[in-house]
């Protein structure tokens, strides 16, 4: 009886500790987000979004950095999506488990763990210097594409795996070739999962600083071509905060960043749900 009581006491203590851990995780999240938003939202205004930064960002808005963020993200996604989805299709539908697929999976697993600063270094020597693209949207976008590729591959592969085997059997039994089966019976149903991976890639591209600062430069001028250098919102935020240029502007940019990431997530979820509803 006494032993039992002690066992239940242990259980109670453990339960309390675990609740505390969960609550503090939520609490920290709330602290960070609320702190940045409460200081930053008052700075936000239409002018803040629509004017380009002046005197190093001390005045004006963040327009050119928004353009820079969008441009880099678009390049990264446009390059990484076909590569990533193609790789996932190859792994999921065109090979059996064997040496080739194991080597590819291992390589992708390793790529997923490479720290962003390494992608930055690589992008700098390879795209900026070796391929002579300079600090530009193209260099930055390609380096980001390399960084988000594993994310897109893994989520796409999971999505393909989730499609029942019977769909493949039905498609083949109706005279479909492998490619027809993939494009018509499998991919449309795996779309939501693939889309999730792309959104994760978008968010990572928006957030990334180390890669961008080394490959796309930090110019505040509105870009005119793929070879123009740009500054993204993350880089702008970093420079404002680290060099103490303007705390007010830093908070504003930080708030805009957090809101943008949340916005992308919410819109993605909403579109996704609509897509799923339409097909069900």
């Amino acid at each position: 009886m006494r032993i039992n009581r002690r066992r239940y006491l242990t259980q109670k203590v453990a339960k309390i500790l675990i609740w505390m851990a969960a609550l503090s995780t939520m609490g920290v999240m709330a602290l960070i987000v609320l702190q940045v938003l409460s200081e930053g939202i008052p700075v936000l205004s239409p002018r803040f979004f629509l004017e380009s930064p002046r005197s190093m960002g001390r005045e004006g808005g963040i327009f050119s950095t928004i353009i820079g963020t969008i441009a880099l993200t678009v390049v990264a996604i446009v390059v990484a999506t076909p590569l990533g989805v193609g790789t996932a299709i190859f792994l999921g539908e065109y090979t059996r488990e064997g040496r080739i697929s194991r080597v590819i999976r291992f390589g992708i697993g390793c790529l997923a763990g490479v720290p962003s600063i390494i992608f930055g270094l690589f992008g700098f020597v390879f795209f900026v210097i070796y391929l002579n693209m300079g600090w530009s949207i193209l260099s930055g976008g390609l380096a980001l594409a390399a960084m988000i590729l594993p994310t897109i591959i893994c989520t796409a592969e999971e999505a393909l795996k989730a499609i029942p085997y019977s769909f493949r059997e039905v498609s083949y039994s109706l005279g479909g070739t492998k490619w027809e089966t993939v494009t018509r019976a499998i991919l449309p149903n795996a779309m939501p999962g693939i889309f999730t991976g792309i959104i994760l890639g978008v968010c990572r591209s928006i957030e990334e600083t180390a890669v961008v600062i080394l490959t796309a430069g930090s110019s505040l001028i509105i870009p005119t071509s793929l070879f123009s250098p740009v500054r993204t919102m993350s880089v702008h935020f970093y420079i404002l905060a680290r060099e103490g240029i303007s705390m007010e502007m830093a908070y504003g940019t930080g708030a805009a960043l957090i809101l943008l990431v949340l916005f992308v997530n919410i819109v993605a979820n909403w579109r996704l749900n609509r897509y799923i509803r339409k097909r069900a």
Binding site: R96, P164, S166, F167, R168, E169, V170, S171, Y172, S173, L174, G175, G176, T177, E180, R184, A185, P188, N189, R279, A280
Partner: protein, 253 residues
């Protein structure tokens, strides 16, 4: 005409790895008949059906001996186009598996792969197939709604119509009524009897009553072997082999 052999299975054996699923099967299936393949579970019925249009190729690590002829042509000839073969020999599975798209798209799936792209011809094909599958009247007003919203029996008739849209020569049905209520079952059986005029049908019935209701001829399978074949009447009323008799009279299975 009706006595001509449509499918000839010659000394056909099939293995999953080293485990035999079919042992030296010899069987002739005639044009425009309903041939029932029956027997207890795991006796090789589904494997034989899937061998007839080489869907077994999708499973890794299988091999076979002997061969199967479709209208005198070896279907295991390396030059055979698998997509063509599967269009000529269509299959309906035990559970209805509509693809998650609209009713129309499900039926149009096969023909559009075959290169029928004209909207008008596709419409005609879909309507004809759905009529043959006795589903047209029920779905003609909601062709573009999801096939997943149909009832189980309707889904299975959709799967039959989906195959019919390809106008195959041979129709393979693997316990097509296993998940269905008696009314849907009756309607599918009726459909089959009507289809026999145009197609050769190989059916794995989901019980002996069904086999005796619809089949012209039947073959009894046990542990991968063909024990006995003959007309349905003979097999179900006076089987020659003891094992067949035991199974038909319900002593095992």
């Amino acid at each position: 005409m009706s006595l001509r052999n449509k499918v000839s299975i010659k000394e056909f054996s099939f293995y999953y790895g080293s485990i035999p699923a079919l042992k030296s099967i010899n069987l002739e299936i005639r044009a425009n008949e309903i041939f029932a393949i029956f027997g207890p579970a795991r006796s090789g019925k589904t494997t034989l059906l899937k061998s007839l249009n080489r869907l077994t190729d999708l499973t890794y690590g299988t091999n076979h001996n002997g061969t199967i002829f479709l209208e005198g042509k070896d279907i295991y000839d390396p030059k055979v186009s698998l997509t063509q073969l599967r269009r000529r020999v269509g299959i309906v599975f035990d559970l209805p598996i509509p693809l998650p798209m609209s009713i129309y798209e499900n039926v149009a799936y096969g023909p559009s792969l075959g290169g029928t792209t004209q909207k008008k011809r596709l419409d005609e094909t879909v309507e004809k197939a759905l009529r043959s599958g006795v589903l047209w009247e029920e779905v003609k007003d909601r062709l573009h709604t999801s096939a997943l919203r149909l009832s189980g029996g309707q889904q299975q008739r959709l799967c039959i119509a989906r195959i019919l849209a390809l106008e195959p020569e041979v129709l393979l049905l693997d316990e097509p009524c296993s998940g269905l209520d008696p009314i849907s079952t009756a309607s599918i059986e009726e459909t089959l009897t009507r289809l026999k005029k145009e197609y050769t049908i190989v059916l794995v019935p989901h019980n002996i009553q069904q086999a005796s209701r619809v089949a012209d001829r039947a073959g009894f399978f046990l542990n991968g072997e063909l024990i006995e074949e003959g007309t349905a009447y003979q097999i179900f009323t006076g089987p020659k082999e003891k094992q067949t008799e035991d199974y038909v009279t319900g002593r095992f299975g």
